[in-house]
Symmetry: none
């Protein structure tokens, strides 16, 4: 699209690379804007230059909503983890999305009744609430178990310390609590991945 054809490979000259980055980035973002308007869609573009500078644009909706959408869509990737089971129980929204999409696709959008759209919106929002509530609940559980374990550990320490203070002769119970940590120690990181 210029005076001559360019091969698609890294531009070696630094300054023309930068000029091209600036021009094409601008073009890309303009194309995204046009696409979002022409086809009433939401388009997010995030560009990180070679030098680490960040440029972004969101058309049709705000960036965080588009990213949320992306992340929800890729929640499927979480299936690799065993907590996918938990999530699945609270995820009737996937089916809902499918219903919405098929309704919107099979019929002319204009023909979908406002009432049915309202009802779908409500269903989606309910699903979201359930998911968010569950997320919070799971986090609270983790916090609680961490706090309980902390409490136990503090007690341990006090017992051990006081025993030392008394110059105890018997150490039989010295490791009483330690074994309790094992096995549950990795529960938290596992559940943390829900927070993404």
């Amino acid at each position: 699209m210029g005076r001559r054809k360019v091969e698609i490979k890294r531009i070696e000259n630094k300054s023309s690379r930068q000029v091209t980055f600036s021009k094409r980035r601008k073009g890309l973002i303009e194309k995204a804007r046009q696409l979002s308007i022409l086809c009433e869609s939401s388009i997010a573009v995030v560009a990180v230059s070679g030098s680490g500078k960040l440029y972004d644009s969101a058309s049709g909706d705000n960036m965080s909503k588009i990213i949320d959408r992306y992340e929800i869509h890729h929640a499927d990737e979480l299936k690799a983890l065993d907590l996918a089971e938990k999530i699945r129980n609270y995820l009737p929204h996937k089916e809902l999305l499918e219903i919405v999409q098929s309704k919107l696709e099979e019929s002319n959008v204009d023909n979908v009744s406002v009432d049915s759209l309202i009802s779908m919106e409500e269903q989606l929002e309910t699903a979201l609430s359930v998911i968010r509530a569950k997320k919070t609940e799971l986090m609270m559980e983790d916090m609680k178990s961490l706090q309980e374990r902390e409490k136990l550990l503090i007690e341990e320490n006090q017992i051990l310390a006081s025993q030392m203070g008394k110059k105890t002769f018997l150490v039989i119970e010295g490791d009483r609590g330690m074994s309790r940590e094992n096995g549950s120690g990795n529960k938290v990181p596992e559940t943390l991945s829900l927070l993404k």
Copy 2:
């Protein structure tokens, strides 16, 4: 770029809108790919069609890294401002609710302009996003500090236990770590109240 000039406005005909979406989306993603190669940069594109289907591409790096980058970039911006300040800026929602309610009550519902309702909705949603993001962030911080403290306590225990195992005579350092707990012990409950 076609047989005729197109105005940049929503394409009314559903099927040509869809054809255009498909073509331009493909073009956009190809442009992103070229830009990433020509200028050794990372470009993420996320597109959500009107019917809710998601299309994405990441060039130069993987999507989650690019999104992370975006989020880190914007997290810094949040930190620059005082948190409370930030929330206050995005939280006229109490007032907003009152305005919405009074508008809906004092006037016939039909007289409230759709635009003003849309704007109120957007403000409410923005406020919600900010609050949710902050909620998650705070919970993550708490989890992290709890985990760190747990680690410290476990180390304490091990040291204490091993000292007892060796039938130590000197107990001078027996309470070394205990004091460390005090003062930070109530940070968590405090912050927990934010989670409601």
